[in-house]
C-alpha cells in the first residue's frame, strides 16, 4: 500500500539526518542553550528579515500550541479560532486543559475573517463571559487553503486595533511559502503577526517546531512555560541542528516545493477526470470529491483520509503529499485515477 494519508509517514530529509549523525558524539549543552539552537535561530531571523525577535524550538504541534497559548493568556482569556482550526478539533482539548476556552467561529475554506472575529467580539461584552484576547489561524489552513496577504493584513490590523494577540500556526508553512498561489513572503510575517510557528515535523525534519515571538513582552519567561508543559527537550541541540539545516539555505522552501509539485500533478489528473474539490487546492493537501465506486478501487492500493460523505454516491477524501513523496508513487496514483 502507498500512503497519501499525511505528511509525516517518513523520517527526515537526508541532509538533516546526516547532520544529526555528524554531531552525534560531540558534547552539547542541554535544554536548547547550545550553539546549534542559537545558529538556527539566527538563520530563521535572517529569512524573516527581523532580528529583534525570539525563537524557541519545541517538539510537536499540539505541544507548541498549548505552550504558546497558555503562556500568553490570563486565566479568563479565550482564543478565537476557525471551527476547523487544529486547536478546536484535533488536540483533544489541549487548550482547554490549560484552562482556556477556544471560541470557534464557523468559516469558509478554513479561514477566519475580520467579520467572524467581530461577531465573536459582539457577543462578549463583560465579565460574565470569557475575554477574547488571541486570534489563532493556520496557514496553510487545515483544509489546504492559503490566506492572501490582503486577508492577513486585514486580520493583523483588526488584531492591533483590538489589542489582540495574533498567532499563526504554520505547521505546514513550507508548503505555503512554496505555493504558486501564495503572495505572502516569509519576511512579511514579522509585520503581520505576534507569534509565528514554523513547522518542522511536516516539512522535512525528523520532528520539531520553531516558534518565533515578535512581541518582546510575550517572550518574558517563555522558557518556564516550555519546561512546565514538558516541552523542553533535554538534547535540544537535535532541534537546533534540524532547523539550522532547514533555514541556513533554501531547504525549507525546497521541501515545500517538492510537496506542492507532487500535489499539483495529482490535482491535474483529478481535474482532467472531471472531479471537483471540496476546498480550493492550493498547497500539499487536496480534498477531491470522488464517486464512491472509484474510491473503492483506489483504496485497494492507496491510503487516504476519509473526510466527509458529500452525497449518496460521492465522498470527499484528503490526499497529502510531502517532501518525501516519491514521483513514482504519484504516477501510480495518477494512472489509477485515469483508469478508474
Amino acid at each position: 500500500m502507498i500512503s497519501f494519508k499525511n505528511d509525516y509517514s517518513e523520517g527526515a530529509h537526508n541532509i538533516i539526518l546526516e547532520r544529526i549523525l555528524k554531531e552525534n558524539n560531540i558534547q552539547n549543552i542541554g535544554y536548547g542553550e547550545d550553539e546549534h539552537c542559537q545558529r538556527a535561530a539566527e538563520c530563521i531571523k535572517k529569512q524573516l528579515n527581523c532580528f529583534d525577535c525570539d525563537v524557541h524550538f519545541l517538539v510537536g504541534g499540539t505541544q507548541t500550541n498549548l505552550v504558546t497559548i497558555s503562556h500568553c493568556l490570563k486565566p479568563y482569556q479565550a482564543v478565537i479560532a476557525a471551527d476547523t482550526g487544529h486547536i478546536n478539533v484535533h488536540e483533544t482539548g489541549a487548550i482547554e486543559a490549560t484552562g482556556h476556552k477556544v471560541f470557534a467561529m464557523p468559516c469558509e475554506e478554513g479561514k477566519l475573517t475580520v467579520e467572524s472575529i467581530q461577531k465573536a467580539l459582539d457577543t462578549h461584552t463583560d465579565e460574565h463571559m470569557v475575554q477574547p484576547k488571541m486570534v489563532y489561524i493556520s496557514n496553510p489552513t487545515e483544509v489546504g487553503t492559503l490566506y492572501t496577504k490582503k486577508e492577513l493584513e486585514e486580520l493583523s490590523a483588526f488584531c492591533k486595533q483590538h489589542h489582540f494577540i495574533f498567532y499563526l500556526d504554520g505547521a505546514r508553512m513550507a508548503s505555503a511559502l512554496a505555493s504558486e498561489y501564495n503572495d505572502v513572503s516569509i519576511s512579511d510575517y514579522s509585520n503581520l503577526v505576534d507569534l509565528l510557528y514554523l513547522g518542522g515535523t511536516k516539512c522535512g525534519a525528523l520532528f520539531g517546531e520553531a516558534l518565533v515571538i515578535f512581541k518582546k513582552q510575550l517572550n518574558e519567561d517563555f522558557r518556564f512555560s516550555i519546561k512546565q508543559k514538558g516541552a523542553m527537550l533535554a538534547k535540544g541541540w537535535i532541534l537546533g541542528i534540524q532547523f539550522e539545516a532547514l533555514f541556513e539555505g533554501d531547504l525549507y522552501q525546497k521541501t515545500g516545493e517538492h510537496a506542492n509539485i507532487m500535489a499539483e500533478k495529482i490535482k491535474n489528473a483529478i481535474i482532467e477526470k472531471g472531479y471537483g474539490f471540496q476546498f480550493t487546492p492550493c498547497s500539499n493537501q487536496l480534498f477531491p470529491i470522488l464517486p464512491d465506486d472509484i474510491l473503492q478501487k483506489l483504496e485497494k492500493e492507496f491510503i487516504f483520509t476519509f473526510w466527509e460523505k458529500v452525497d449518496d454516491s460521492h465522498t470527499a477524501i484528503r490526499i497529502v503529499t510531502s517532501w518525501a513523496t516519491k514521483e513514482e508513487n504519484v504516477q501510480k496514483l495518477i494512472q489509477s485515477i485515469q483508469q478508474a
Copy 2:
C-alpha cells in the same frame, strides 16, 4: 572542556542511530500505532516477564511524569514524593500545573520510606485536605542511590494496603539495573509497582521514555491523555525503533553498565584521594565533597554541576557518566584528581 554535567550531552548509541537511518524512507503509520512501537512493547514485556501490561512511548521525562500523574489522579488527589524528587523540584511545577499537589516529605539518601508516607497520611484525614493517592519514587534516585528489593517490597505492600498507586520514575533505570549494588531485577518490577517509567533519553536513546502500565484500569483512555498534553509524537515509530533496539537484546543493560564502570573508576580515584561523598555512590551519578581549591583546578578542564556548599572550604558537586562517556576523558579526570 570535558563535560560530566549530565547524561544527555551526546546523541544516541550508534546501533540506535543506524536503525533510524535504515527506516528513514519507509512509510509508517503515525502516532505510535506502527509495528516498531508494537515490537518494542513486546520486547519490553518479555524482559519484564509480564505480558498483561501496556506500554506507551513518550518524548521526555517531565512530560512522562505529568501525563501519567494527571491521568491517574482525580482533581483533589495528591502525589507523595521525596522532597528531592524530580517532580517536586525540577519540573517547574508541571504536576501542580495539571492541578495536583505534590506532597513532599523530607528524606535521607533521596529515598521515601514507609514511615515518611505514613506521616504524610497521618496529616491528611478529611476533605479539608488533599487526598494522597499516589506514591512517586525514582530509582536510581535523583542523588544516585538505589532502592533495595526489600525497600521496594515494603513500599509496595504499604501502597497496596492503602490503595495507593505506586509509580516508579526510572529515567536512569539502565544504570540501576546494571549496578553491582542493585538487587532488583527488571522482572521484579511487575510485582512491585503499578506504573514503571523506563528512561531512554539518559540511557542510549536520542530521546524517548517508555511507560509501562501494569494496572489495567489505569491504562483506560491513556492515549487521550498523551495526546491532550502534547506528548503524542507524530512520527511515533522513531520512538518504537529506539526501544526495539534497546530492549530486543541487552543494549539497555549495556548502556547502564558502561556508565557505571566509568563512574566506578572516578569514584575509586576520589576515595583513594581521601575525599567523601554526600550520598552513597551506587550508580552513574556521584556527589563527591571536594576541597574548594581542588575544585577550582578541576573546573578549568571539566564541567560539573554545583550541588551544595558543605562547609567553608568544601563543596559537593555532581559528576555524571553515561553510555557515551569516553574512557580517555575519565582517565584525564582521574589524573587531574590524583594530581590536584
Copy 3:
C-alpha cells in the same frame, strides 16, 4: 424604576429569613454536616421520591456547575451543551478553567436534542479529539422554554445507551415545576438524570443551590471537590435551613407559581397588543419582540435585559418575574404596554 431584569433582585422569601433569624444564636457544626442540611436533604429526597441519592448544598450556580462537572469528568472528557447553555456562554469559561471543553451544539428554543448530541458524537471518533462524556441541559432553559417528559426520556435513554452522564441544571426549577406547560413532576427526575441541580437563589432563597446525585459512584469524594473549589460554606447550616424551608412543604412550588402567574399576566398583555415572542413563553422568563419606539417608552419606567435586535425597528428583550415580583408592578407594566 421597576426592575424585571432578573429573578435575583430581592433577598429571600420571608419564611426563609425568619428561620435564619430564629436559628442565628444556636451553635451548629460547620461545613454542611449539621442537622439542618441533613433534614433539608431528607425533605428533598422525599419530594423526589428517591431515598438512595445524595444531596449537597452549594452557594451559587456557576459554582455548582463547575464543581459538579469537574468532579465527574476525566481530564480529556468533554461536556455537550446547547450553544445557549449557561456553561457555554455566561460562566466566563468556568468549565474550561477546570480543564474541560464545552462542546456546544446549535439548538432551537434552547434545547438539546438526541439528534444534535448524535451529531456531536459523530465528529468525535478517537483520541485526537476530546471524549464527550456528559450531557448538560437546563430546565427551564436559558430562554425560558421547558423540556417535555418525552424529550427528557429520549435524552435519558440516549445517555444511558452511550454511557453519558446526564446533568440537569435547574437553576429555575421552581418555575418549571409550577408551569402549566410542564408535564414532568419532581419525582420523575430520579429516573431521568444522573445529577439534578435544584436552584435556590432564583427560587426564594437568599442564596444557595442543591445538588442531587442519583448515581452513587459520582458521589464518591464529592465533598473534596466542593472544598477544593472554594464552595464549602463554613456556616453550611444557613443553606440547610433555607432548603428545609423550601422543601419541607410546598414553598418551592409556591415560589415558582407566583413567578409564573406574574409572567402569564404580562405575556397576555403582550399578546393582546399583537406582539410576538422570540421563544415560546412557558415559565418566568419572557422574550417579547417589541417595536423600538414602544421599548423606548417602557425603558423610562422599567428595567429589562436587551436580548437581540430582530430587525431595523424591532428588538427582543428579556422580562423576568420571580417569587418577589409585586402584583402592582406587574399591573404598572401591563398598563404601560397597553398605553404604549
Copy 4:
C-alpha cells in the same frame, strides 16, 4: 455541649441581620454592582485611610485565596507560605488546582520570616523550577499568633526588593486589630501589603470576605476571575450590606474585642492552673497543652479541636472564641478548668 471548636458556629451579629432584613424587599442590581457594595468599599477605604485601592466582596476564605492567587500569578509562578499556612494545608489543594505550587517553608509560631523566604529563593534559580512570585501570610496566623509591625515591615521591604506580590490573609483580622498584643493599625496595611483580605465569616458576618487590592495593576479584570471561579454572588448586595455594617463604625473592631476578651479569660484560667501553651496566646485562638485526664473531663461538656499529642500524657488542643461567644459559657469552661 458547648462548642469552642471554631468561630463560625453561630450566624451573624444582630446589627447585620437586621440590615439584611430591612433591605430584603428592595430591588438591587446584581453581582456586586449595587450601592451597598459601593458604600461598604468606601467605609473600608476610609478605615484603611487609603482611597486609591479597589475592594471586592467574596463569599468564603478558600474561595478568596484561590481567586486572588490564581488571578495574580502566571502559570509557572508559585506562592511562598508558612507550612502551617491555610493555603498549604486546609484548602484541599485549591491553589494547586488552579495550577500553582505552594512552596511551604518550615516556620515558628506560624510566621514566615525574611530568612525563610530567602532560603526558598536560593533554591529557585532558573526555569527548571517554579518562579516564586507571591508571599502569602495570615494575620492572625493559623496558630493564633500576630505579626509585629516590624516583622511586617521587614517582609514588605523584602517583597518590594524582589518584586514579590505580598498578600495578607486576614480571615480573623478583627481579632488581630483588637488584640492588646497588636501594634499594627488597620491604616498601616496599605503601606505594607499589596493585597489584604479582611475576613467577615469569622468576624460577625453571616458569611463573606472583603478583598482589598492596593496595587492597581493586580485589579485589572479582577471581576473576570471572580466570576470564572464561581465566586460572584448573584445577590451581591447581601455582602455589601454586611460590610457596610461592619466598617461604617467600629463594629468590626468590636467583634474582635469581644472574642479576645473571652479568650483572655480562658487563657488566664489555664495559666492559673499552671498549664502552658503550644503557641503564644495573642488573639481568639488558644492552644493550651493539657493533661489527658483533664482533657477527658472537659470533653464531656465542651467541644474543642484536637491539635497534637505533645507527649504520652499531654495533648495540645485548640480553643476558639468569637463575637458570639457567651460570657456564661466561658465561665462554665473556666469553672471546669479550675475544678478539673
